[in-house]
């Protein structure tokens, strides 16, 4: 291996041509993904085909030949399993009206008072995304906001921007709250309970920051909305009239859905303890939902985001091919050299780089690329493992706050606003709030990771212990 220090074999001769070719293929693919010149799944699969052809031409797969591609995909099958299982679970459980019911119940508590409603939209977004992951959670909240605002004659923009931004904090609450989080947790083999120390506090802290900034920024709009919407008593009456039972088709299935969802969450938390993977729990949860919650298998399976699955497969293949050139090791060594052995510099550089790049490119390819690099660094310097992976969790999820295209939640929320109200939120307008929040969140994430690391408060990552 090509390693700068402490490696097992420093005699590695990097093959620069394959590195350059595969590196270019990866960068071009990422550019296509970022600028969406093609559908991102198509870009990823075409990139993967090009990468496989190049890797085979350079003989990078060794004696295994093309079978190496199957090994690459097989290595990350657990992530695909979690995505498929949770997608089936969420679609089926969502069909029971459970989440809609809870959302309407919570909205009724606010009596439609704009500031209270704003707070509760933030809280609900946090809870739903933590449980349902980013895309379904933010979709649910965006639709709730549009309907409530239409009924109360409020402007939905502040609420939707809150959904877009708070959702990214929620994605780092648990191992399974966000796809980037899941990828990092899986690759670094981080136990589920470690997330309660490593990232849950960050999820809460960054969500509170976002709430405080946004509520201050939109205070005037919220107050004016409240005044313009008419008498307080009318508003209260309207909200009191919301009928959550209108959403429930079958109460038995409704309660069973709550049980299945709760059991799946407990399953995620205890999976490692009982010796199974999260993909097993997700699949079991999905199937339990189909069996006990009157799920329609055809519909639920169709609802799985197969484009996302293809996107991941393409991405994994590209990164696997690039990894076989040694380019990622070279990058890891360069980063270590750049840091000069300083955890502060390395954590800061990686944190800032990942946050900025995640804002412009999808955070998934950024995370997928960073994982083997950090894995290499962690193997060489196990003490760096915890701070680097935790900063990656925070930075990859929150980086999307910077731009209107940086995260799934922003795309969903802003698209919902445009579709329903014909109103666009420009880059400047979004970034005014998003970048400010990202800046503060970035400082908090990096600061938290460095302080916790300095205090030795992060649990050791088992994968890198004793290496």
């Amino acid at each position: 291996m090509f390693v700068a220090s402490g490696g097992e074999s420093s005699a590695f001769e990097p093959a620069w041509v394959p590195m350059a070719v595969l590196g270019v293929i990866m960068v071009i693919t990422y550019l296509f993904i970022a600028f969406e010149r093609l559908h991102k799944s198509v870009s990823a699969i075409i990139g993967a085909i090009a990468a496989v052809i190049a890797a085979m031409a350079f003989g990078l797969f060794g004696s295994g030949g093309y079978n190496h591609v199957h090994e690459i995909v097989g290595h990350d099958l657990n992530i695909l399993g979690v995505i498929i299982g949770t997608s089936i679970l969420v679609d089926t459980v969502g069909g029971s009206g459970l989440f809609h019911f809870i959302a309407i119940r919570v909205v009724k508590i606010t009596h439609g008072e704009p500031q209270k409603l704003f707070l509760f939209v933030c809280v609900l977004t946090f809870v739903f995304v933590s449980l349902l992951t980013l895309a379904p959670g933010s979709l649910l909240m965006a639709s709730l906001v549009l309907v409530i605002c239409k009924t109360l004659n409020y402007h939905p923009k502040p609420y939707l921007i809150a959904v877009a931004i708070i959702a990214n904090s929620a994605a780092l609450t648990t191992f399974s709250s966000g796809i980037a989080t899941l990828m990092i947790g899986t690759a670094a083999e981080i136990p589920y309970v470690h997330f309660f120390i490593g990232s849950t506090p960050l999820a809460f802290a960054t969500a509170i920051i976002a709430y405080l900034v946004l509520s201050r920024m939109y205070r005037k709009t919220l107050v004016e909305d409240g005044k313009a919407a008419g008498e307080e008593s009318d508003r209260k009456l309207k909200v009191a009239g919301f009928e959550e039972w209108a959403l429930v088709k079958n109460r038995k299935i409704f309660w069973r859905s709550a049980v299945v969802l709760g059991a799946t969450v407990i399953g995620f938390a205890t999976a490692q303890m009982i010796g199974v993977g999260l993909d097993f729990i997700a699949m079991a949860g999905g199937m339990a939902a189909l069996l006990f919650c009157a799920g329609d298998p055809e519909k639920a399976i169709k609802k799985v985001k197969w484009t996302v699955i293809l996107f991941f497969v393409g991405l994994f293949v590209i990164i696997g091919c690039v990894k076989s050139t040694g380019l990622l090791e070279v990058t890891a060594d360069s980063l270590i050299s750049l840091g000069g052995g300083s955890t502060v510099i390395l954590v800061s550089v990686i944190g800032v780089f990942v946050m900025l790049s995640s804002g412009f490119v999808d955070n998934i390819p950024v995370t997928a690329t960073m994982l083997p690099i950090l894995d290499q660094i962690a193997k060489e310097s196990p003490a760096l493992a915890a701070p680097l992976f935790w900063v990656l969790v925070g930075a990859s999820n929150l980086g999307g706050n910077g731009t209107p295209i940086g995260s799934v939640s922003a795309v969903v929320a802003l698209h919902a606003l445009e579709t329903d109200r014909g109103e666009k939120v420009g880059w400047g307008e979004f970034m005014k709030a998003g970048m400010l929040i990202l800046l503060i969140q970035g400082v908090v994430v990096i600061g938290y990771v460095l302080i916790m690391n300095a205090l030795g408060a992060f649990p050791e990552l088992p994968k890198y212990a004793g290496t």
Binding site: A142, V147, E243, K249, R251, H415, T419
Partner: protein, 312 residues
């Protein structure tokens, strides 16, 4: 309905929340259980089904069964014997024999017997001729249509003698249309008749063809691309919130089981298929305006149904 899967998902989620936001409180009318139920026989092979249903209905209501034989031209003795035989099948119930009517028309006999006895609920046979299903009117029987046209009380029609008839009242299927005036009454009567232990199904059918036709008749431009199945189902769900909530509130208060489903397709076909396949008691709200298309549609559903149908 939309350009992207995201739009579809958004539309679906918004439709659900709209159901909650737009739902209006529906008061289920309090309907006193009938003290008397008129049970009409016609000496056909459906009389056993009528007796079976009458026993269940009168037991649940605690009502007196008033028996009549609607077939004209029967001598007094034959009539007496037949009604006594039927009465024997209603053991345990309080029964009365309605005075013989002189009308020639069986429908007149039934209506007159109902009026004279003061019965507030009517049970009668309605021929179910499977082979004649496609012939429309003939499969229902003109007596049934004439009684329905004049009845002002709920009419329970016994159709095919099915094996699952004895438990049909435990599986009521209430077929509803959104914004239907008779819907709340139909729900109330079903709940009163079938009780807390029944497994209720509420069915809404979205008929895309009928909808497009109605829109065209009203002079609206119909954008076929917007009439996708999912979009229509979403809209129906958003509009049905008030009735769904009323049903669920009743079910919650009474610890009953209630399942709501939305189906797409030709209204009579889908409704009858659901009812026949599930061996339900089919409850159909019956518009007061007997010349309305909704009333004709209800009759079509009735013709296609092999299960007992309660026209409210």
């Amino acid at each position: 309905m939309s350009d992207t899967p995201l739009d579809d998902d958004l539309h679906e989620a918004m439709a659900r929340f709209s159901a909650a936001a737009n739902a209006e409180k529906v008061e289920l009318p309090v309907i006193e259980p009938p003290a008397k139920v008129l049970v009409a026989f016609d000496q056909s092979n459906q009389d056993d089904s009528v007796a079976l249903l009458a026993k269940q209905v009168c037991t649940r209501y605690g009502a007196t069964a008033v028996l009549t034989l609607a077939t004209p031209g029967i001598d007094v003795e034959t009539r007496r014997k037949h009604l006594e035989a039927m009465q024997a099948k209603l053991s345990g119930l309080t029964c009365e024999i309605a005075p013989q009517q002189d009308d020639e028309d069986p429908a007149d006999r039934i209506i007159d017997a109902k009026r004279d006895s003061g019965a507030k609920f009517l049970i009668m046979p309605a021929p179910y001729l499977e082979d004649l299903n496609t012939l429309g009117r003939d499969s229902l029987g003109s007596t049934t249509e004439r009684v329905l046209a004049r009845a002002t009380v709920p009419v329970l029609l016994a159709r095919e003698a099915r094996d699952d008839l004895s438990s049909a009242l435990d599986r009521p299927l209430i077929k509803l249309h959104v914004r239907q005036r008779e819907a709340a009454k139909a729900m109330s009567i079903s709940f009163g008749l079938c009780g807390k232990s029944a497994a209720y199904h509420m069915l809404f059918v979205v008929d895309a063809g009928a909808m497009a036709e109605a829109m065209a008749l009203l002079g609206h431009d119909v954008d076929e691309s917007k009439l996708t199945d999912q979009a229509l189902l979403d809209d129906a769900q958003a509009a049905a919130g008030s009735l769904v909530a009323a049903g669920q509130h009743w079910a919650t208060d009474n610890g009953a089981s209630l399942n709501v489903s939305f189906k797409i397709g030709s209204d009579p076909d889908v409704t009858a298929r659901e009812a026949n396949d599930g061996g339900h008691l089919l409850v159909l709200p019956c518009p007061a305006d007997r010349n309305s298309s909704a009333y004709s549609r209800a009759l079509t559903v009735l013709r296609l149904s092999s299960v007992p149908v309660l026209m409210v």
